[in-house]
Amino acid sequence: MNRNNDVESIVIRIAGDSGDGIQLMGSQFAVSTALAGADFATFPDYPAEIRAPVGTTFGVSAYQINLGGGPITTAGDAPEVLVAFNPAALKVSLPMLDRGALVIVNNDTFTARNLAKAGYDNDPREDGTLNDYQVVTADISHLNLEAVKEFGLSKSEGGRCKNFYTLGMLLWMFDRELAPIEAWIQRHLGGKPTMRDANIKALHAGHAFAETAELSANLSQINLPQAEMEPGEYRSITGAEALALGLAAAGELADRSVMFCSYPITPASPLLHRLTNLAEMGVGTFQAEDEIAAIGAAIGASYGGMIGVTSSSGPGIALKTEAMGLAVSAELPLVIINWQRGGPSTGLPTKTEQSDLYQAVYGRNGDTPIPVLSASTSGECFEMAIEATRIALRHMTPVILLADGYLSNAAEPWRIPEISAIEPIASNPVPDSDESPQRRAFTRDAKSHGRAWVTPGMPGLMHRIGGLEKDVVSGHISYDPANHQRMTDLRAAKVDSVADFIDDQAIEQGPDSGDLVVVAWGSTYGPVYQATRRTGVSFIHLRHLNPLPRNLGQLLGRFDKVLVPEMNDGQLTTLLRDELCVEPVPFSKVTGQPFLIRELVGKIEAVRGEAS
């Protein structure tokens, strides 16, 4: 894949009918040299016919813009974003895109007639044609005309403003400023005040629409180590898809049904949508009335013998906190997925962040430890869903899996795993004994401390569970002080024992000792990988955050300095200091944008400079 290597530059292709005013706009962009830093280049691509028939593939007119922050010399290769104003434009442009590209489709033009003209037998929005892409559909023509209604333009004049309406949407989605584009409109349409004002209005209206609709875009994970692609069969996958498939696979590996219970929230909802299609794989979805009900129903499903799963983003996870404590106390398995976004409070719903690590590791009342995992890439969401389920069932505990808004939508090439090669997930058996059912339900495995999974419906095993402290042996309610100490110790030992079952921490790349190691977690994997490769420093990427791998302290001790880049205000830094008594150098970025490779390289070089 030959792409711009920095997320700051985005190649956008806008395609539609000749009559859509696309070349006018494109050429006007092209002649403009006044914009600061020459920060875009365009590539017109239009039909030979002056007036090609409307809606046909040979009548498609397009131009490409490279919206970049630095010097741009070409219009880019494969567009990362396609705006298709009609089916023909989609048909012509789709082959140019790499998998995972963002495709914005104007719904208003997808009529039966236009589909036929473009040569589509079925609606590509519905028949799976767009499965490999991130798709945003909007009634752009209609919304745009509404936005510019006040200017009294003809339908065709008004319709031409949709270029800027769409550009407004894109500027929101990619965090670009409106001001330069608005200034450009001022200069170039100054002679036609009505058109000028209408286009500015459309630009702002598109921007506002994208904000209100919480549209977000995450381009492919272009920083992943492409060179190391192992042979095998690949597909394109987003984090939400991979997690959905991972949960279904976990159900199959455990021979249990999966009940997914959630409440809609940005950016977690794509997982819910994906899972609704997996009923044949034993997956049920329940949209609850709120976040608390979602986790409550998931706990109820786990109590009933299914794999209960809930998912949300930080604010929703906060609401679920009390119920997590119940699952810890009742010793029930549960998978909790947090698609992190910028906080605090409502914060930045569409922007990515890694700032819920404290919440996951420390954020509950009482001494209530919960294992915490994180997914590094979209594809890794698959295996981490299985790992989270495996831990939940083995230790009979809720498990938190941290993903983030970036992973939810970002697509990457993914090597399709061999399901039969994955170790099945075992449930703790009910002990065959003469003890009371209550005691049998709380018989724990010596190594994992996981109890037997006894579920209503099993004959002769009626017992009671709950959130009150219970006797460590009998499982009955107990207020005994010494017993509470033992139960607290047991809950800590249980979570700690997860580390006995996981692999030692490996060094992702670089030497196994030296002056500097970069330690990261989650979706910063791609840029950190590239930055450490370029600078030759060592890189450790964590997937188990609580408990940490047993050898991590010893591993970090081989380096003079530990640099921790993360998209928060230093949360992993605190955790490492707390758990391992190391003193890392924090490197925070909380702009809602992923790290850039050059930012990381700069920081690595600066820290190395201090070290030497």
């Binding site: 069969e233 597909r235 044949e280 009671r464």
Partner: protein
């Protein structure tokens, strides 16, 4: 099962820890009896509760039991019922648990018509936290948190149920064995959410708050026991009836011996009359006030999960997605 179980078979080894004289004891006995009468299988029965005095209930019933967190019992019960629709799932809750902190979940369980039997122990007070006024407390209730009398308008459990689109609403009095037995039997048999308000006497913090209609001596004159298809009669000799006043659009008491034709016949499916019956005071309406059968949530859910959550395809058949390619 070879031998029919008795109420005693539904008692656990756990010491019951409610205050002596609490109305909960009578309800516990009534439920244990109802389970035995219905031939319930203890292994296929689960009691789920939230927090409060009533929420202790599952510890005392020899079935599966889950004592959860404040207000959330309907959510956990919903998940359980979806996971295993064959279970008999009961929710035991109080007025604070279900109508204050858990109001949202009660509302959604009712509107979805999840197959749960929800028993609301209404004592118009917070017992476990030592006597604060509750969402059903009458205006002016003096309590540790309202020494000058509460000012909030109380909520009516029955009207909440009707407003949420409930399909089954019934009432009983904790100590009324006969009435409770019938109401629990009907609630148990209903497919969907059966919501039962039980007037429960808290002898420590709100004693006799319902005495004006629960006193045994006067109950015949203060309670209207409804039976579907039968005239709404009450009084020691069934000499009083309920009729509809077309001028005021309300129910009123009529002398049944003088105007027998004016006495309404109870129609459980009539939502308008149900709302009037819920608000009726002296007599207070008891028994099944409203019942309107409808598809249960779990049945509707499984209609969309036709394999009944059983795996009919392997993930291996699905994982490749719409298109894939090979790297050599």
């Amino acid at each position: 099962m070879s031998n029919k179980l008795t109420a005693k078979d539904f008692a656990t080894s756990q010491e019951v820890r409610w205050c002596p004289g609490c109305g909960d004891y009578a309800i516990l006995k009534a439920v244990q009896k109802a389970l035995a009468d219905a031939g319930a299988d203890p292994a296929n029965t689960a009691f789920v509760s939230g927090i409060g005095c009533a929420a202790r209930f599952p510890y005392y019933v020899e079935t599966y039991g889950f004592h959860t967190i404040h207000g959330r019992a309907p959510t956990i019960a919903t998940g359980l019922k979806l996971a295993n629709p064959d279970l008999d799932v009961w929710v035991v809750t109080g007025d604070g648990d279900s109508l204050s902190i858990g109001g949202n979940h009660l509302m959604h369980a009712l509107r979805r018509n999840v197959g749960l039997k929800i028993l609301l122990f209404n004592n118009e007070i917070y017992g476990l936290t030592k006597g604060q006024y509750s969402p059903t407390s009458r205006v002016g209730t003096k309590s540790p948190s309202s020494p000058k009398g509460s000012v909030d308008t109380p909520v009516s459990p029955g009207q909440v149920a009707m407003g949420c689109g409930a399909h089954f609403f019934a009432r009983g009095v904790d100590t009324d064995k006969v009435g409770m037995s019938d109401v629990l039997k009907q609630a148990h048999a209903f497919v969907g959410t059966s919501f039962v308000e039980i007037f429960q006497n808290c002898i420590v913090y709100n004693e006799d708050v319902f005495a004006n209609f629960t006193e045994r001596k006067t109950a015949a004159n203060t309670q209207l026991h409804l039976k579907h298809g039968e005239p709404m009669l009450f009084g020691e000799n069934n000499d009083k009836g309920i009729r509809f006043n077309q001028d005021t659009w309300s129910l009123e008491v009529v002398d049944a011996t003088e105007s027998p034709d004016e006495v309404l016949v109870h129609d459980e499916g009539n939502a308008v009359v149900a709302r009037l019956l819920i608000d009726l005071h002296l007599p207070v309406a008891m028994g099944v006030i409203y019942r309107q059968p409808a598809v249960s949530f779990e049945d509707a859910f499984y209609a969309h999960h036709p394999t009944r959550m059983k795996r009919t395809k392997s993930i291996a058949d699905f994982i490749k997605g719409p298109s894939s390619w090979t790297v050599e």
